[in-house]
Symmetry: C2
Subunit: 190 residues, 2 copies
Amino acid sequence: MSTAPKTDTREAIMSAARLTVQSEGYNALSFRDLATAVGIKSASVHHHFPTKGDLAEALVCRYSEDFSARMAPLIEQSFDEAIAGYVALFRGAFDGGNRMCLGGMMSAEVSALPEPARKRLEGFAQVHRGFLRTVLAKKHKRLSAEALDVRAMAIYTAMEGAQLVARGLGGDVKVFDNAVEVYRATGLLD
Amino acid sequence: MSTAPKTDTREAIMSAARLTVQSEGYNALSFRDLATAVGIKSASVHHHFPTKGDLAEALVCRYSEDFSARMAPLIEQSFDEAIAGYVALFRGAFDGGNRMCLGGMMSAEVSALPEPARKRLEGFAQVHRGFLRTVLAKKHKRLSAEALDVRAMAIYTAMEGAQLVARGLGGDVKVFDNAVEVYRATGLLD
DNA sequence: ACCTGAACACCGTTCAAGT
DNA sequence: ACCTGAACACCGTTCAAGT
């Protein structure tokens, strides 16, 4: 297999870092805490990720891949099911800890990111736009490619906002659910 | 007058801190940089704000007041004008630097905030809910108070999301404008 | 009341050194 | 290749000391 066990130190660092970024933020991420979590010393983390910015880039890249993989099976489903599944991916952040989409968190902290990591953030937005464009295209056969893209992005931004605000209010899933229900009722998710 | 000149050190600290939080984030805010900006020493900042958390609380509180003051004149206008004015308040963040709503930024970094500051964040959400509820009530005479509240919050979350994502994509106002246009076209802002 | 220098335990990063 | 201790300039915070 080309995909080895992959339970090595580098993977352990990324795994621990991802959770911390989602719950505390990138600026709150510490190489020393990370090192302690995986059982090495702070200086050793730099062997796998020369700078914190390099780790940020790897994290956004990996998160995009993971999100993409979880959206993939939804494409074959009906429009309503695909949208519901997409919403569920964001809603899942509230299960077990007040986490947040890593893309949304990094968007807030973009000023701390080096250029390569910012590019990955654009890639993350592309992943959402691409998925939603495909889903929307099923239902809106007459919309132009541009119109589908713009509409796709609006759904993505609305989901990030519902998650951001609900998180700020103590991880109140009700706030998230209520917002999504209005999105649906008013037609944003049609 | 009860409102004195107010150009004292405390105000200077809050003013500088607000801009830094909006552009870099709360976790990136440094007491030492703040001290340098206002011409005192790091330890002196603690005389005005004992802890960083106290400063956070004061910042969210003040920001809520300012936002509320800027929304107030919109209430007397027509529904469309009020919504347009509300959207403009969020759009203004992109003028001069890639800033972000302080409430949105603090929502992402909520884990770093002490309880009193989190309460102020709830107050900030209340300010938006209260304003939008009043505006929506003009148009939707038959909606219940609860329905108006939920709808108001959904508009607030959608605006925060459009700003968050646009900021993440390099402060691209086009992303923000496009998202708002879809919000409007689909009926979320009706 | 308002400010300060010095100390504390933190932070990312670098580097020479180990295996 | 992978790890380490020690050093650097940073961070929030505390405190005794100044005016």
